[in-house]
């Protein structure tokens, strides 16, 4: 018989609803996994990427026997892909950054993107140079701040490997749809640039090119300074903030066309939905028939003990009592009157 799973209480219902598919999705949670041997450089890179990704990140700091490109079973008896799927389901995460150093592929970093709890596509890069965030003594952006992103090279529009890398990096850092942004909150920019395109690398035969002649990838992060320019648009100056990464492209796995097509489906968002919060539940706000936004505000419970009423002579406690001593000058109308009573007894 089919088991009908129903949440038992409101808290678990909210938790299940938060995990349910949404029309407009939240930012992807990334899990940073260390392989059997990560090494100092890769660990440091992962730490820096996590600092940029915070708060939507989870760190798996223990060693994990995981090799996403190998289909063979590990010693624990499960394939790497099934481990990834399990972790994704457990943590409600859909992105993995896996660090692994081997003799054959030193300082490897694998980006894995999931769709519907299964692996969609993967891309492996090797870290050649790395300068950590700590080595730049500059102020860092606050966690959760949305970065600007900059991609520079014509290959990001033509070469499938770099189109995939761009898409993965956008998913990692900037994949959340937002409807507004505070212009004072633009604090940093992540710049992804390539080395000059080699002559042999033409768009005609992208599949035949090996990893060797693919250009290097330079990832830099800068903090922005907005200087006055005399116009409405400010002039931008950048300060290196770190991390600075030089990467080489390695193995990759493309998404299969059918899954990709499903993953790229867009919701039909009508104007009314945009007004009522872009598919997200917006409480206590409604647009009335005249098209005005109306809100309800909960003002909390009023503290009546602090209320200052009208002072009247007749209501004074000591008045009329000929031997009463006015001990506390009657500054405020004390309804509780605890203090006063204590003094009098």
């Amino acid at each position: 018989m089919l088991r009908t799973v129903r949440p038992k209480n409101a808290r678990s219902k909210r938790a299940l609803d938060a995990r349910a598919p949404k029309e407009i999705e939240d930012a992807r949670t990334a899990i940073f996994v260390k392989g059997t041997h990560a090494g100092e450089r890769v660990s440091s890179v992962m730490k820096d990427l996590m600092a940029l990704k915070r708060p939507h990140c989870i760190s798996f700091s223990k060693k994990n026997d995981i090799h996403p490109f190998d289909a063979t079973t590990s010693s624990s008896g499960s394939t790497s892909q099934s481990s990834l799927e399990f972790w994704a389901a457990k943590n409600d995460a859909s992105l993995f950054v896996i660090g692994q150093t081997t003799k054959k592929r030193p300082h490897g970093l694998t980006l894995v993107r999931m769709y519907d709890g299964r692996v969609l596509d993967m891309c492996e890069v090797g870290v050649e140079e790395h300068k950590s965030m700590d080595s730049f003594k500059t102020p860092k952006p606050r966690p959760g701040n949305k970065p600007l992103m900059h991609f520079a090279s014509e290959l990001f529009d033509t070469h499938p490997r770099f189109i995939q890398l761009k898409s993965l990096l956008i998913s990692l850092f900037n994949g959340e749809v937002i409807d507004s942004i505070c212009l004072n909150g633009l604090e940093h920019v992540i710049s992804v640039s390539l080395s000059p395109t080699p002559a042999g690398l033409t768009t005609a035969s992208p599949e035949t090119t090996t990893n060797l002649n693919l250009p290097k990838v330079h990832i830099r992060a800068y903090t922005t300074q907005l200087l006055p320019s005399g116009t409405r648009v400010p002039r931008v100056e950048l300060t290196p903030m770190g991390p600075a990464l030089d990467l080489v492209m390695r193995r990759h796995q493309d998404a299969d066309t059918e899954t990709w097509k499903q993953a790229m489906k867009r919701p039909k968002v009508v104007k009314k939905d945009i007004e009522s919060g872009l598919g997200k539940k917006r409480k206590n706000m409604e647009v009335d028939e005249m098209g005005d936004l109306r809100g309800r505000v909960h003002v909390g419970k009023q503290d009546l003990s602090k209320l200052v009423g009208k002072k009247m002579k007749g209501l004074k406690k000591g008045s009329g009592d000929d031997n009463a001593m006015d001990l506390d000058g009657e500054d405020a109308w004390d309804i509780g009157g605890k203090k006063k009573r204590k003094i009098q007894t």
């Binding site: 598919p21 520079a152 761009k166 950048l238």
Partner: protein
Amino acid sequence: MDVSGLIASHAAKFQSVTVEKDTPPEVDVGFLIVTDLNPIDEESYGADLESHLQKLARDGTQALISKLFSLPTTPSPDGPVAQLPPPTTQIPRSKPLPKPKPPTKWERFAAAKGIQKKVREKKIWDEEKQEWVNRWGKDGKNKEKEEQWITEVPLNADVNFDPVKVARDARKERVAKNEKQQLQNIKRAQGTSSNTLEERKKQIERTVATTRISTASMGRFDKRLEGEKKLKGVKRKFDPAEAPADAERNASLALLNKMESDAKKTRREPDAQDSVLNVRKAVRFASKGRGALALAKDSRSKSRNAKGSRKSR
């Protein structure tokens, strides 16, 4: 009047905010992304990498910021908030699109009959109390009959007739019925294919078979119902005595592989070079069955005694 001096001083004070490029950078304001599709200049790349990258990033960011600051804004306590258009870059979703909720049985019926949905107020007017009370829940109107202090009893009622209990049971029954309908709606929404029906049939058959042999005589002396089939046991099956040689070899190799694989082994066998001496047995023998720890302690105390005797000499 010569204003060139003024213009020059203004230009010196404020640097330009325009970016000159062969192809203007593509800006996706919705995702805050700028893509500069000009080929990388080899000379400046080779000369000084860091300054080249920073210059590229600055130009790109300037283009993005220019677009962002030209968007319509609304004021807020933290500064102007720009209203972003939907993004043009397409990135894959992490979960499939939410499916529309399937209609319940009532909703389908209502749609067929053209019944409009009415929102039921949670509060209801109580004429006697002259105030709004809950329809259900705490001090709910639906518990009125159970809580009133005097109740009319029908003429032909039983001696043990308890009007409070009857009202309460009726209310509980209504709740149970609604819950059952909800569950059925959920089940219907999940869909019952022929596959699950098959499974259910198999499950029932298995239950029947189990109950039939669950008596003291294992079902031998039970009454047989009409049309009841004879229970079929599981027939043992054997491989043919003669098999092709390679099939036999493959089976044996598979078995050996399974035995050698580490996956299900709890304790490793000792290595080949150690196999001459069974270490555990030797320790047990040397320590007279008290274990390796006791053996180590013994040897330590012995050596200390030896040292002490040397000193005293």
